[in-house]
Symmetry: C2
DNA sequence: CTTGGAAAGTCAACAAGGCTGCCATAAAAT
DNA sequence: ATTTTATGGCAGCCTTGTTGACTTTCCAAG
């Protein structure tokens, strides 16, 4: 059992006060800005936005994935994704080919230039994350991950965990 | 480079592998969606967006704050904020009055209807956060906060910490 | 007092990326 | 063969980010 305080037989629930929750909320807000700041700079140089980053990231993670699958993961609508995918394909960063089994589907993979940009973006983001992890230490990181997972919606958690098996 | 193993007298650095960092990055992405999902639903009922939520939140936190101060906290441009503020003032949720000392400034406060909506939004968000905190436990929460603070930009961290003293 | 610069805030115009809704094509079911 | 269902593309709208020009106010130098 996680305890925390040293009250008689009960847990110390000070970490659940509205004040503590508010601090957590604001920390989440400010941290997310830091989290996206470095990739955003690189993207801006290429005339892309965060939506492009997300597409590149998950196509890299699940090569050969379909538009539908990507829609499920990203939780946006078709047009939002489609606009982004179209520019990435036009610019030669993503390869879109008609599905092997089902010809309605498109199978998406990164081209070599696509991989290059993806690596630049993810390395920038990892550097920030690595610095934060190192500063906070392994135990803090474990807690960080626990809270984040508990904060997800059910469907999101499944998308998150399900990312192990390829598309 | 990435070590991980249990080398001689060194710490265990497995939590700094690219794989662990990637999981943290994806967890951050999915968790942030959960984090905003509940307020988003309430906002949509009122025809507002996240930008309105942020404005209401920080005006509530720092009553009498100015537009400039809010710009510093939120890190957006004047027009982005101004558009949102204008609708909130028109709708009677925010009171904007000429500054007492400096008449160029506007002092912003929530009206009673503004406070009602702010409470609804923040209670929805706190409920999610409370559930996550409870599920993860106090030690995890401490780690969560440490990693988030380490992830912020310097300026953001100052805005975050500086929110103690009023505007 | 006047003038000139800096600061606060408003607004116009544009771009990115959310959204819904409609359509074409391919597959599956009847 | 025909109807239904699924994938994905496209048109058009809205929020919210951007830059840049403008007004009002303050303050400091002359």
């Amino acid at each position: 059992m996680q305890d925390g305080g040293t009250t008689g037989g009960g847990e110390n629930l000070l970490f659940l006060t509205d004040e503590q929750l508010r601090k957590g909320i604001e920390a989440m807000f400010f941290a997310y800005r830091g989290f996206t700041a470095d990739p955003d700079r690189i993207l801006a140089e290429h005339g892309y936005g965060r939506a492009h980053h997300r597409a590149l990231h998950f196509i890299n993670r699940v090569p050969g994935t379909t538009v539908s699958n990507l829609l499920d993961i990203l939780g946006v609508t078709k047009q939002s994704l489609n606009r982004v995918l179209r520019t990435l394909v036009e610019d030669g960063l993503v390869d879109s080919r008609v599905g092997a089994r089902d010809r309605r589907e498109r199978q998406l993979t990164l081209t070599e230039p696509g991989r290059v940009l993806e690596r630049a973006l993810s390395e920038a983001q990892r550097a920030r994350m690595r610095a934060a992890y190192r500063a906070a230490g392994p135990q803090a990181v474990a807690g960080f991950r626990q809270v984040l997972e508990a904060m997800m919606d059910e469907g999101q958690r499944r998308a998150f965990s399900g990312l192990r098996e390829g598309g």
